[in-house]
Symmetry: C2
Subunit: 316 residues, 2 copies
Amino acid sequence: MSEKIYIGVDLGGTAIKVGICNEEGQLLHTYEGPTEVAKGPETIVDNIERYVRLIVEQSPFEWEQVAGVGAGVAGFTNVREGIILLAPNVGLKDFPIRKILEDRLGKPIKIDNDANVAALGEAWSGAGKGIDNCVCFTLGTGVGGGIIIDGKIYQGFSGLAGELGHISVVPDLEAIQCGCGKIGCLETVSSATGIIRMANDAVSRGERTSLSLVENITAKDVFDSAKAGDEVATRIVNRAAFYLGKALAAVAVVLNPELYIVGGGVSKAGDFLFNEIRSVFAKLTPEPVQQGLKIVPAILGNDAGMVGAAGLFLRS
Amino acid sequence: MSEKIYIGVDLGGTAIKVGICNEEGQLLHTYEGPTEVAKGPETIVDNIERYVRLIVEQSPFEWEQVAGVGAGVAGFTNVREGIILLAPNVGLKDFPIRKILEDRLGKPIKIDNDANVAALGEAWSGAGKGIDNCVCFTLGTGVGGGIIIDGKIYQGFSGLAGELGHISVVPDLEAIQCGCGKIGCLETVSSATGIIRMANDAVSRGERTSLSLVENITAKDVFDSAKAGDEVATRIVNRAAFYLGKALAAVAVVLNPELYIVGGGVSKAGDFLFNEIRSVFAKLTPEPVQQGLKIVPAILGNDAGMVGAAGLFLRS
């Protein structure tokens, strides 16, 4: 038996993505198939097993070289026990996935939530390669987060560290309720959902904006309008960026990280978004804490989940 | 040679406090003498050496039992190199205190800043005894912080982790500049200085408050007036507590700690302050993150610095 390989599984509501990584975090092969949530847990597990075995068969590697299988799950997980506590999009609750997959695959299994796993992927072999202390924000439907300390995911007391989308940054008087039940969370303004909500609100109010001509506004529509000079869209983007910059500033004096990695669909807005974030961050963060700290875009895109899941074996 | 002992030095602008701790973090003997800042660095070092030798002589322990001498310094420190970068109150700058004390005492020396050391003291044998992950806020002239992960001080990338007084929590429109040069820092509203400033401002504006009869208002005056029902004083205390609660909420979703310890002079206001902090915290923090998390007062008072400094040898 030669080189060891690690398999990363990104378990989402629509697709299961499976990747093979080597010990350096290089993603060598990938496979993607449907999750088939509607068919229930048994089918989901069948699919995971099938895709994992398939990708190894189709690769130049032997099954014996698989040193472990990691899985990132969109939902709440109990990392220590290997249980999916609640994954609404995947239709799983109190599901002992580690035990089940260990029995089926005969390999060591590790799990974590998708945001932590994506953060680990970026830290291991993405934008954070070579840096041991970084913090990731993933701006998607929600705002996810992951904290990497000494190259590993930091879990906190009950596995809830890095829930960065729920930093309360919006002042009470302009705060709205978040999906978590609290008010003023970063996620309510800096996620795609938040941006779309602010755009729809503006259109409903009859504000003058090119967005009023768009059906089913997306976050990309808002960014495109803003880039084209639309004032309302610009205000919305700046608001999303402002609170993100404010959250980055708060986390900076807590953790003093070397690097911020910002990923997810919304981050594709590029410099237009990043310049505003950096400007707010610079205004609110003490100079010594800014020294040497960089804010960069994620580079692995949708692969981060697979890479990070594989990395659970070398980095946790 | 029997039991090992550790000496903790709390180096402040007025006094040098020296304490002997055993391996369980019990403070067995203490000695306090003047710092004599005006006489310059040589005298300060002479005093440290003298007080350290004196306390051991006066104790039942032998010099050989001293396993290390730790020092907490009010200022910026380079922990790795053992250098005091800047301690304005002690009049020291770029001062290689570790090397100097090692030569004089012939013992291993460790240093850290006062907030970190106080946090470690409370975590080791104070309010956080037996708990490995806690976060301390010290509400004094400024707002200091310290993060304890796995029983040890978390330093971050450049030793600036836990600068919790500089979390930007006050919205821009009501923010003022902090000593750090930035705006909206927690320290501008929740420190004794912040509370006194808000009280003086209210009096200057001619607001109706019993504080207008007080000369040289202290934070205690403001709390006493608030407890007696003064509306202006109550508003000021609530504002200080609100932003502290908001900062605690922000840190909770980042670090997911098991315990918050709140100490320093301002914390002596007791339940009057803590109830408000807990109420704001509960309003802004997702339920799962609140589960099992406690917010408690510090219990070591001014001894925390000595205990934590001694603890640098067992807990860093």
